[in-house]
């Protein structure tokens, strides 16, 4: 797996590069700002870009903008955007153009190496992943009906759907059968009046958009 990393904090950039290299990923470049990221990602044609959102020069959302630009140029490029804080709007922005092959994670998730590597593999395989913290905040914000009418188990399933997990993964996480998951999902989609989606990443977008709607 060929990776380009963009992160302005040097310690973190080097640490991340070394960690991924140790795990057998091919780190093509590790850069510190938006311009270098765009340049390298275009010339080196990686499978995956991992980028911090806030980078020089303005320390606002350079990473997000670069990620969206690159995705528009090369829809098959997978990106993971790392954020210092929970920002639902950022996550929605990322999935707006299509959730296949994108990830939105809090930066601290890189410390759980196995989970992080799993996320990398997932997005490269056209899956999507949204940080559970972000989903939790969005679910909390939508504390109204019809979400309030969901059972606790259904809420759990909805959160995992929003995080980008497929039926099988949800079943594994909740220690239930896949058939049970499918049943929950049908009930949820019906209650929220969402169209049935077989495609995981389209489901992610629908659910996130629903959660964001007021």
């Amino acid at each position: 797996m060929r990776v380009v990393i963009a992160e302005d904090e040097a310690l973190l950039r080097q640490g991340l590069a070394r960690l991924l290299a140790d795990e057998g990923l091919e780190v093509l470049a590790a850069v510190a700002d938006e311009r270098a990221l765009l340049e390298r990602a275009r010339s080196l044609v990686p499978d995956l870009v991992i980028t911090d959102i806030r980078m020089p020069p303005t320390q606002t959302d350079e990473g997000m903008r670069a990620a969206l630009t690159l995705r528009r140029e090369r829809p098959d490029l997978a990106v993971i955007v790392l954020s210092q804080f929970v920002d639902a709007a950022g996550a929605l922005q990322l999935v707006a153009d299509g959730a296949d092959g994108v990830g939105y994670l809090l930066k601290q998730r890189v410390m759980n190496v196995d989970r992080f590597l799993e996320a990398c593999r997932l997005v490269v395989a056209r899956g999507s992943i949204i940080d559970p913290e972000v989903v939790a905040v969005m679910m909390q914000r939508r504390g109204d009906d019809p979400i309030a009418r969901l059972t606790p188990r259904q809420l759990e399933v909805l959160a995992l759907m929003a995080e980008g997990l497929g039926n099988a993964a949800i079943a594994r996480r909740l220690f239930v059968t896949e058939k049970a998951v499918a049943r929950h999902i049908n009930a949820i989609l019906q209650q929220l009046d969402l169209p049935p989606e077989s495609d995981d990443h389209r489901r992610v977008r629908a659910v996130l958009t629903y959660l964001d709607r007021r």
């Binding site: 904090e9 310690l11 973190l12 640490g15 991340l16 070394r18 960690l19 140790d22 806030r54 320390q59 210092q84 804080f85 930066k107 601290q108 890189v110 410390m111 190496v113």
Partner: protein, 582 residues
């Protein structure tokens, strides 16, 4: 006298006829009559000469007397009387008494010079500019000095010289008249509307009348055959006789007759309760000046009727004191180009004094209200700035935590992960563990600095003096800290405010003052904490910079006083006084 509550009744002195004017009028009439008798008795003169003289003199003297009576302080009336008398004396030409004949010849054209003077001085009675004075002086020179050759050559058979001097006088006279006309037009154009209205018709009529009169005089000398002298004489009178009437009308009408207006003002004040805003309008009407402002004395300064402090006077503004006895209670501020007669303003001020006194309370209330509103605005501004400063501070802390500490923790976490995933190489593991530990230590330093910036531990734990000393020790310049009476801990907000006064002032000194040393004095006397930071730098601190402004707001919020100023002998002094009743 029936005085209704809430109204002011004043007695204007009755318009009595001044005995001086009766005497002057009688003397003038006598003089004119004597001259008329002399002329009538002169052989070879007909009734025309008599009537011309009597009419010209009579109209000017009469109009002059009326103008003088109505506007005693305006010189125009006297000038008109003088012109009339000059006409009378000029009529003496040809009487069989040699001295009187010469006198008559000498003043022959003086009426013209006086009329010119009148024209230039109208309507205020004063010559406003040096060029006007020069033109008027030239007029007198032409009328008197250039007349002398004619007296000298009149008897002696030198007709050539006589006519040469006549021509010279005529040319000079025309020049003066042209210059006067130009000046008059220029003045009329530049004058404020009211003055322009007063000058109005005279602007053209005056010079034309003078020109006709002068031409008549010349014609009388040249065309000696009947009936020309008589025609010329009537022409002169016809041209000039209208002038005094026009002057009189201008002086007693419009903006220059104010005696009636003062009566109006009195009537207005008497009619019923006048409010404070109406008073200004009434007084403005009385003086024909819409821009008139009524200013009330308040403390050392003045306020307008709305109670806002004002600086009286300015370019083109006249001031008249309003007082009751020796108590100066206010001012009338008026347009001095519009209101020529200061006596009138003073009269209006006298009339208004009682009403003034009545409205001082109203205006005082308005002034206090305005002050309270201003103070409330200042408080709101300070509160807003305090809130914003607190928000800025939170934002800064959040950013420091996000971009600093949080990132470093993630990086350190990654390092720990690497150690965990690489067992079996004790040397490498130990090296990485040491690196991790060093990283944790520097992270702690960072957090400590962050916390210190928010609220120093020394201040929290040991109080203001210790915190100030700890701060001074870290400043890269000699800083002395003197503390007096700080034998107890003060309320938190007082201590932190005192500390921020010291820290912000020291930071400014280091950054801007180019100082060699700095002295901090903190003293507690009963319930007042005094903090003084004094440096020996270049001074000129920016009071409105956000730092000092924030301090002022903080100190103000605690009911204290804050000042920043240049120290005697250079440098900056920051002073804060914070009450701390606990």
């Amino acid at each position: 006298m029936d005085v209704r509550p809430g109204s002011v009744r004043l007695q204007l002195p009755a318009r009595s006829v001044d005995p001086t004017r009766i005497v002057v009028g009688t003397l003038c009439a006598l003089l004119v009559l004597i001259v008329a008798a002399l002329v009538a008795a002169t052989p070879g003169t007909g009734p025309t000469e008599v009537w011309v003289m009597v009419l010209a003199a009579g109209v000017f003297v009469g109009a002059g007397l009326v103008a003088w009576a109505r506007r005693p302080h305006n010189r125009c009336g006297l000038l008109m009387i003088g012109t009339g008398l000059a006409f009378a004396v000029a009529g003496l030409q040809g009487v069989p008494v040699a001295a009187l004949d010469t006198l008559g010849l000498l003043v022959e054209t003086v009426p013209l010079a006086l009329t010119l003077h009148l024209l230039m001085a109208y309507p205020s009675g004063r010559l406003g500019s040096s060029s006007a004075r020069a033109v008027v002086a030239a007029g007198y020179v032409v009328a008197v000095v250039l007349q002398l050759p004619r007296i000298l050559f009149a008897g002696g058979g030198s007709p050539l010289l006589e006519s040469a001097s006549t021509v010279l006088q005529a040319v000079a006279g025309v020049s003066v008249l042209v210059a006067a006309t130009v000046l008059l037009q220029r003045r009329a154009r530049a004058a404020p509307p009211a003055v322009r209205r007063a000058i109005g018709p005279l602007r053209w009529y005056g010079p034309v009348a003078l020109a006709v009169a002068a031409a008549g005089a010349v014609a009388a000398d040249v065309l000696t055959r009947d009936p020309w002298p008589v025609v010329a004489a009537w022409l002169q009178v016809a041209a000039l006789a209208g002038l005094p009437l026009a002057f009189l009308a201008g002086l007693t009408r419009g903006s220059f007759d104010r005696a009636g207006e003062v009566r109006e003002l009195l009537a207005g004040l008497d009619r019923g309760p006048v409010d404070v805003d109406e008073l200004e309008r009434l007084l403005g009407d009385a003086l024909g000046d819409e821009t008139l402002r009524v200013l009330y004395a308040r403390g050392p300064g003045h306020v307008d009727r709305a109670g806002s402090p004002v600086a009286p006077g300015g370019a083109g503004r006249g001031l008249a004191a309003v007082s009751i006895g020796d108590d100066a209670i206010g001012l009338l501020e008026y347009d001095s180009t519009l209101v020529a007669d200061t006596e009138l303003v003073d009269e209006v001020a006298r009339v208004a004094a009682l009403a003034f006194e009545r409205f001082r309370m109203t205006v005082e209330l308005r002034a206090r209200t305005a002050e309270l509103e201003e103070a409330a605005r200042a408080v709101r501004g300070a509160q807003r700035r305090i809130v914003r400063a607190a928000d800025d501070e939170r934002r800064r802390i959040a950013r420091d935590l996000h971009d600093g500490a949080q990132q470093r923790i993630v990086a350190l976490g990654l390092q720990a992960q690497q150690i965990a995933r690489r067992p079996g190489d004790p040397a490498a593991v130990s090296h990485q563990a040491l690196e991790l530990s060093a990283g944790l230590e520097s992270l702690l330093d960072e957090l400590r600095a962050l916390v210190h910036g928010v609220m120093p531990a020394a201040l929290v734990d040991r109080g203001l003096e210790a915190a100030a000393r700890a701060l001074a020790a870290r400043i890269p310049m000699p800083v002395s800290v003197t503390a007096r009476g700080l034998d107890r801990r003060l309320p938190d907000e007082v201590e932190s405010t005192g500390y921020f006064v010291v820290s912000e002032s020291l930071a400014n000194t280091v950054k801007h003052a180019r100082a060699a040393r700095c002295d901090v004095t903190i003293s507690l006397t009963r319930d007042l904490l005094d903090v003084e930071v004094r440096d020996d730098g270049i001074g000129g601190a920016d009071r409105d910079g956000s730092g000092l402004r924030g301090l002022a707001d903080r100190v103000g919020a605690l009911g204290g006083r804050f000042s920043v100023g240049d120290a005697e002998g250079g440098g900056t002094v920051v002073l804060a006084e914070v009450p701390c009743a606990s």
